[in-house]
Amino acid sequence: MTFLYLIPIVFAISLLAGFLGALTGLGGGVVVTPALTLLLGIDIRYAIGASLVSVIATSSGAASAFVREGYSNIRIGMFLEVATTLGALFGAYISARTPTSALSVIFGLVLLHAAWQSTRAHHDPAGIKPPDPLAERLRLHGHYPAGGGRQEYRADRVKSGFGLMFGAGMLSGLLGIGSGALKVIAMDQVMRIPFKVSTTTSNFMIGVTAAASAGIYLKRGYIDPALTMPVMLGVLAGSLVGARVLMGAATHVLRWIFAGVVAVMAVEMIYNGAVK
């Protein structure tokens, strides 16, 4: 097989990855890594390097569309990013002394449960409970376009959300997987931030987190230019389409797609943990 043959295939896979990644806030890695390794027999390290770049491409591509439309929340993203990046550093630090295959299986099971949970919207009506004072002080509120008007929202249970974000970062440092799934779940289920705001803000955050580890992967030679080129271009094009579709899509449809992708990811993790 020559490059002229391989590159269009990789581009097509990446289009789908970028589309799903932008739609769910999970980044493109969920699709890119298994497709490159299982389908095309590419070494996992090249796949990881390409997948890391794909996360940045999805994030920056989609974010440029979302921010202008007023979905993602920079304050919430930046505040939670402190927890995620610290967690990621801590996870990378302890990774040599942790049984990652067992952890991978456990985390896969947790994700399966979370996928099921995320298909359901939170029911407690807003405005009855007094607002979280920490959310007030940190201005973790905003509004986003919904049904022709603007829907106001504010974050709840900030401390639990922050703690869970630290855990999300730690797991991504330990297992080398995108922390997007836990980020969306923490914002949506714990902090009660609207689903579209959660996924788009996650999209913003995963790019920053991925950029933090890009330097290491580049130095290790994981990022091969000939392979990453079609991945980057495909994912970028896919994410721009995904961002447009998200804006018009019904939230319950997005929840189901998110749950489906997270469930696939969970099975992948259990499989990887069990095989190793």
Partner: protein, 118 residues
């Protein structure tokens, strides 16, 4: 400066960075395919990208000499820089709003980011 104007500003920066990166990668990709498209990829075993594609200075040097793979790699560096630039710019934007809490929070994020990049 209002939140909305600041967000539009950031969106413009992001889009410009991403499109520049994509254009550079595309040029490098077309050049590579025209010259070496009939070569056989060796990705089944890990050899690691060669040293001229793994360090910033070497990549820039190669790109200036129109080594197409180095051009691609340079475009990827521009892409990796966009989220970093976004965080840096947010510090300035929060400072303009005189929101010092978020200047501090964003500075912490940038510090961790730069620490792990270098």
């Amino acid at each position: 400066m209002t939140d909305e104007r600041f967000e539009v500003w950031i969106a413009i920066l992001l889009r410009a960075g991403v499109l520049t990166a994509a254009a550079i990668v595309l040029i490098g990709g077309v050049g590579f395919l025209l010259h070496q498209g009939d070569a056989t990829p060796q990705f089944h075993q890990f050899h690691g990208a060669s040293p001229e594609y793994t360090a910033g200075a070497a990549i820039v040097r190669g790109a200036l000499h129109l080594d197409w793979l180095a051009v691609i790699q340079f475009g990827l560096l521009v892409l990796i820089a966009t989220p970093v630039a976004r965080v840096a710019l947010s510090i300035a934007a929060f400072a303009l709003e005189e929101d010092w809490t978020y200047v501090a929070i964003t500075a912490i994020v940038l510090a961790i980011l730069l620490y792990s990049l270098f």
